[in-house]
């Protein structure tokens, strides 16, 4: 029924920018204050999305990513710095004036309203006429496949359905920006991967600039056009997933992303980094001239869905250090614990960091 109707106007491809953003919570008094004594949740962040981009804010819990998102939404006032949407400073504006839509971690559906009433709520707040509201709600519901749920209350929905309702509520307003705060963290693992896929297709379909907060690197790598890695209120690196993975800007990014994380071996005033999957038996890399040979004293092996994770101590390229090698199923070199083997890493795969600052050299 709704399919024959025209979809609303093409989405605004907005640019969101934050400049010199600082957010301090005074200890205790602020209800969301983390820890005591002035805590800098955001410590001088400069960041800009591109038009229609899917930008993921990735970091461990407490790194300030959610606070940054809430500041962009207008739910927190920054201590210093500005938020710009499409070049307009919106720092002092209340959330409703910013044309942003947010999906909360808890989905924050209004429990006393039906799904339809939840979805039209932003439109009613905007003073839209009833027929237009209903038409848009049905359009959003159809896009997300929840038309059959419109009469239900949120209580009667599953986690995945609630997430779609929350998305539909965000979508109907045709916001300039979507802000998503860990929308998948309340779903079970199986549902999460399919929801991740849907979320990506959904964003590509509507094309609205999206800022997505997560602590899950798999979500970040899978969803993001670019990833901004945050730690302690600072942006450590912004880049495409492959850049963040292959060329981490510092040891934090190197060890936060990747599972198992990048191996770091101290050598003089440097740290030599290489990914577990690049540490392979020397025989496998035999054809490669430019490789660094590394003896590995193996002490433990794990079999994980075809891959072998080989734990051991490397010597030769720096101080003896415990590392992990991830051998794909295609490498069938026999390896057993307690033996020392010749491993190697292609030199092009080695990354060097300053031992003092942790920054890439």
């Amino acid at each position: 029924m709704a399919s024959s109707q025209p979809t609303p106007s093409p989405p605004m491809k907005a640019v969101v920018e934050v400049k010199g953003l600082v957010k301090e919570f005074d200890g205790g008094a602020g209800r969301r204050g983390r820890g005591r004594g002035g805590v800098r949740a955001i410590d001088g962040v400069d960041l800009a999305t591109e038009e229609g981009e899917y930008l993921v804010l990735l970091g461990p819990s407490g790194c300030g990513k959610t606070t940054l998102l809430r500041t962009i939404a207008g739910l927190e006032q920054p201590t210093a710095g500005d938020v710009l949407i499409n070049g307009n400073v919106v720092t002092g504006l209340p959330p409703r004036a910013r044309k942003v839509a947010m999906v909360f971690q808890s989905y924050a559906l209004y429990p006393h309203k039906t799904v339809l009433a939840n979805i039209v709520f932003p439109l009613r707040a905007a003073g839209m006429a009833r027929p237009e509201r209903e038409r848009k709600a049905h359009w959003a519901a159809e896009l997300l496949g929840i038309e059959h749920l419109l009469g239900r209350k949120p209580r009667a929905l599953s986690g995945g359905e609630r997430q779609r309702v929350a998305l539909a509520r965000a979508l109907v307003r045709e916001p300039h920006v979507f802000l998503l705060d860990e929308p998948l963290s309340n779903l079970d693992a199986k549902l999460r991967s399919s929801a991740r896929d849907e979320l990506k297709r959904f964003q590509q379909e509507v094309g609205t600039t999206t800022i997505y907060v997560t602590h899950d690197q798999v979500e970040a790598m899978g969803l993001g056009d670019r990833i901004a890695v945050l730690s302690n209120g600072k942006v450590r690196q912004v880049g495409k997933p492959i850049e963040v993975y292959d060329d981490p800007a510092d040891t934090f990014v190197a060890t936060f992303i990747g599972s198992p994380p990048m191996n770091l071996v101290p050598r003089e005033d440097q740290l030599v980094g290489f990914r577990p999957e690049h540490l392979l038996p020397d025989a496998v890399l035999a054809g490669m001239a430019d490789r660094e040979k590394i003896p590995l004293a193996v002490d433990r092996i794990e079999y994980l869905s075809g891959d072998r994770h080989v734990y051991g101590t490397v010597t030769g390229i720096g101080k003896p250090t415990r590392v992990v090698a991830r051998l794909p199923a295609t490498v069938d070199t026999p390896i057993s614990a307690g033996e020392t083997y010749d491993f190697a890493v292609a030199r092009s795969r080695l990354r060097f960091f300053s031992a003092e600052t942790g920054l890439r050299i």
Binding site: A29, R31, A73, G74, L75, P94, P95, R96, V100, A101, M102, F104, Q105, S106, A108, Y110, P111, H112, F121, P122, A125, A126, R155, R169, R173, L179
Partner: protein
Amino acid sequence: MTAVREAPAGTATGPQPAARRRLADREGALAWLFLMPSVVYIVVLVGVPFVLAVGFALSDVTAGDPSYDFVGLRNFRRVFDDPVFWRSLGNTFIFTGISMVLIVVLGKVLANILIADFKGKWIVRFLVLLPWTTPVTLSSIAWLWMLDSIFSPIDWILRQMGLLGRPGDLLGAGSNMYWLGEPGLAMASVITVHVWRLTPLAAVIMMAGLMAIPRDLDEAARVDGAGYWRRMFEVTVPLVLPVAAVAALFGTIFTFTDMAVVDVLTNGGPNNATQVLTSWAFFRGIDGGDVGQGAAIALFLFPVLLAAAIAILRAVRRMEVG
């Protein structure tokens, strides 16, 4: 030794001292033990007086002649013929109705203040809760002085503000309002004191309700573009409604059954303008000595209180389900 200890009670080895069930393990007996005080309380202090009240209402017992003679519904017929009874009944509903609305609305406002985060909030909270913690009679006497026919400080303030005391003033040329002397003002005064006294209780109940609403919901509504009033009436109020119902019902019961405020302030006057069921029952049964009639009047509280109790239980159950 340890093997014997571990054997369950009642096996072939016979009951060992360590394996015997202690009182603390016998849940059936414990249930009785723990329930007994409240059962005794209800039977002795609620059940017996209720049966007595019904019994007295059907008797000719008076303070002067305590011998029990069954007279059927004679007391009720007399009560129905008494215009003061009907006036008391009407007043009771007016008092309760108006007080309840004011208590719930002001309770919600005060609850917002109680949960707000600002400097010096502890003193505000203290002041808000003070009326509820003061004994009823004490605070009623304080109000009696405030509303005194000659020395009322409220009248003094009104005179200073130029609203009272000179010809052409808004509230009249008389030097005093006679808060407790004019029928309408007396009723308003009693309602005011009730509201003043019960609002803190409602505020605390509503505060609990407000705190239970996830902050996300309010924030989602803000991002969705809803202003203060829309958030209040479309998000906060519906979610706090079951709790507000409980506050309202408590307010109803406390207003409906209270006679201290009326007794201290007006003693039912002027000319029975503030007479309520409780004060009239007391006046008839204790002051007047006609225990039978007093009991018959007091029994009219029962259906309303029963309905209120059922409504409270329903509201609580709905909250549990939600």
